[in-house]
């Protein structure tokens, strides 16, 4: 039993050295951020920052345990997939049609609860969206979507 624990410990120590941890930090202002393209009320921006931006932007606020493996791998994987699906900082680069599709997806994801990820909100209390929060976000999306359709 003691031997098994020692081996596990060695493995845990070894994996800390295996792969470098990538950092999602752009260190720059984001001219293509969604807020530069559409009016985003402060309250909405705060909700988006807390509930979404860690995985869906170019700047992640990493917790202390992100320096440890295997947490680092897991987090990196979430960020990579998140950014590929939606990146708020690059929203301005999306062609109009794609913007509308993304807005629709955001609304339906938070409505059916698939986003933010349960594993994320479990750890990050500030990321939890109340029913009222969701309504506010959805209303904002509706307005933005409507204004997009009119400008086609």
């Amino acid at each position: 039993m003691k031997k098994a624990s020692v081996i596990l410990l060695i493995v845990l120590v070894l994996i800390q050295f295996i792969l470098p941890v990538r950092r999602n930090h752009s260190g720059q202002a984001n001219p293509q951020d969604i807020s530069r393209v559409y009016p985003v009320p402060e309250k909405i921006q705060r909700l988006l920052n807390n509930a979404c931006y860690d995985c869906h932007s170019n700047n992640t606020r990493y917790p202390w345990y992100a320096n440890l493996q295997p947490a680092s791998w897991w987090i990196d994987s979430h960020i990579k997939k998140g950014k590929a699906a939606l990146n708020f900082n690059e929203f301005g680069r999306y062609p109009p049609r794609r913007r509308q599709s993304k807005l629709k997806s955001i609304a339906s994801s938070i409505e059916d609860g698939t986003m933010p990820l349960a594993s994320y909100t479990l750890i990050h209390e500030s990321a939890r969206l109340s029913k009222a929060d969701k309504e506010v976000i959805k209303d904002w999306i509706d307005q933005t979507w409507d204004s997009l359709s009119q400008n086609k």
Binding site: M1, K3, A4, S5, I7, L8, V11, L12, I15, L19, R22, Q69, P70, W73, W74, D76, S77, K80, K81, K83, A84, A85, N87, E90, R93, Y94, P95, R97, R98, Q100, S101, K104, S108, D112
Partner: protein
């Protein structure tokens, strides 16, 4: 001895399960541009490719009408593949611009539908926007193998309504499926 093997196996499993995707290349998340075609004779090849897109879309529509999420997902993957294989530069200029604009969106929705067998509700959400994209494609002049009908269902999505394209004049509703297959009206006939 058994404990050592067990804990070694557990460790390997543990960090191989978490080691997903760190070595794979980054997928671009910004605007997608079509790569130029080197084969100029492919200019005529664009049309059959586009017709295929409409056909696969109709297969997807029919699957949703039957409440068959698995077939819809299969059609989704086919559609994503089909649209990726078309070079915008092989199309006449008027269509090329519209096509580039629409293609990315179609591909994403098709992929999502492909990834959501088992969640027909989610597939139908994406199908709504996809239908609008395909409609725009047809209106831009893409020729179709058959006459198409642009249909409207007023009840879907809490009465917000949604549209779809059909090859039959008879209404077969992909949004409500077998629960209400006849719901809807023909809004427009498309003769391409």
């Amino acid at each position: 001895m058994k404990n050592i093997i067990l804990s070694l196996a557990a460790s390997v499993l543990f960090f191989s399960a978490c080691n997903s995707g760190t070595k794979s290349a980054d997928r671009p998340s910004v605007e997608h541009t079509a790569t130029p075609s080197t084969d100029t004779a492919a200019s005529k090849a664009g049309q059959p490719g586009l017709t295929k897109i409409i056909d696969v879309y109709l297969q997807m529509k029919n699957a949703l009408t039957r409440d068959n999420d698995k077939d819809a997902a299969a059609a989704g993957l086919n559609l994503a593949r089909a649209i990726s294989s078309i070079e915008a530069t092989s199309l006449p200029p008027g269509q090329a611009k519209v096509f580039s604009d629409i293609a990315d969106d179609v591909k994403e929705h098709a992929e999502h539908i492909g990834a959501n067998a088992g969640n027909i509700k989610h597939q139908r959400e994406h199908f709504e926007t996809l239908s609008q994209d395909i409609y725009d494609l047809v209106k831009a002049g893409v020729s179709t193998s058959t006459k198409l009908y642009f249909d409207h269902c007023p009840m879907y999505n809490n009465n917000k309504g949604a549209n779809w394209l059909s090859e039959t004049k008879k209404i077969s509703n992909p949004y409500l499926g077998q629960s209400m297959p006849d719901c809807g009206t023909v809004k427009e006939e498309l003769n391409n």
